[in-house]
Symmetry: C2
Subunit: 204 residues, 2 copies
DNA sequence: GACCTTCCATACCGATCGGTATATAGTAGA
DNA sequence: TCTACTATATACCGATCGGTATGGAAGGTC
């Protein structure tokens, strides 16, 4: 619906702000403060629009978050998909770890992972948000597990570990890295974490 | 100061609630909802006391959180210290991982880790809380690093990894486990994570 | 120009936030 | 019994929360 705005005949007064720029600004606010920590005043001032404009363009705070999270997955989590194309299971892990460092240490973006921040408990107002973020992560995890199962079938997998177990282990490291980034770890520290994880990674 | 209450002559009207029981209840609320997610109404109703009683006994919300966090470290994080007494570096890691599972899967307690929940971003009201929780964790991390450095000096440490790097790697796994517990992972899943981490752990 | 639609700005809504003033109830010592 | 002191209960405070009603202002079509 919103994506068609540019093509629409535009009957009334055109909006004075770029909806994509505003959404990107909203994403930064959510990313930095979490869903409940981001107040409408924070959002509007950072997006450079007024409250009614926000509601006209995005519905309400929850819809705005969902669209911001879509953008986040589309732009920041895209590396997840491409990482799965690596030729080996170890390569997949390495790409995931290194890309995660880049995400967490982006120059303009907040530290940490929006998914992790949003899925941990705050008030009960955000319970539905929490549920959806968790559900989305489950589907992402499933893709990684499937990739590791394929590796096992192709003979490209360490012995003594199940694909699902190693996938969840890798995800735990990624989530731990997100926590450390969120509390202020430097890029060097995160890179050291990646190196250690790769040294320890089973099989060759 | 509060610890002396029982010995004090008790001049005025005695309080009608057990301050330790109330603090334990407050801890559960913070643990479940985070600092900002725990409203005074949540706290008082769960503690079974009124608002003025809370302020008279604990100061304010922030002081209450600090005392609850003290209790948390004293009762729930005590395993950290005892884990460091394990004879080998690997034993330290194993104890830490297994104890963490117990913490996250306690029957009566909320899931996840109060430290992780409280150190991730929410509104700016909690910024000082965040800072203190992070600072406390740094000191805990330092103890683990020192233990691994001792292991290195004793010849009980895998080659090819630095003590500090392996410590931070282990902490990342523990934090990742806390995240997974917080979003609803089962005990079996967490135990699988422990097993995988131990399989992968370097050296023997 | 008239007209219609949409956007922007201000000011406001009820609810809830953390925190407190006030008055009453209860206990110890005089 | 009176006084000193403290806990409890109720009701309230200003500030902020997410969300909206209202009144113009700015474009498009005719």
């Amino acid at each position: 619906m919103e994506g068609l705005t540019a093509l629409a005949p535009a009957k009334g007064r055109p909006r004075e702000f770029d909806i994509d720029v505003a959404l990107a600004a909203a994403l930064r606010v959510f990313w930095q403060r979490g869903y409940e920590g981001a107040s409408l005043s924070d959002l509007t001032s950072e997006m450079g629009i007024t409250r009614p404009s926000l509601y006209a363009a995005f519905g309400n705070k929850e819809m705005l978050f969902r669209k911001a999270f879509d953008l986040y997955e589309r732009e920041k989590m895209a590396y997840m998909k491409t990482a799965l194309d690596a030729p080996t299971a170890r390569g997949v892990a390495e790409r995931l770890l290194r890309s995660a460092v880049d995400i967490h240490c982006g120059t303009d973006d907040p530290r940490g992972c929006l998914g992790v921040i949003s899925s941990l408990a705050c008030g009960q107002e955000a319970e539905s948000i929490r549920a959806e973020v968790i559900a989305r992560r489950v589907s992402a995890e499933a893709a990684l597990i499937a990739r590791f199962e394929r590796a096992l079938a192709e003979g490209d997998f360490p012995t003594g570990v199940e694909p699902g177990a190693l996938a969840h282990y890798l995800i735990a490291i990624l989530q731990g890295m997100a926590v450390q980034a969120g509390v202020g770890a430097s890029r060097v520290q995160l890179e050291q974490l990646v190196e250690t994880s790769l040294i320890v990674w089973p099989g060759r």
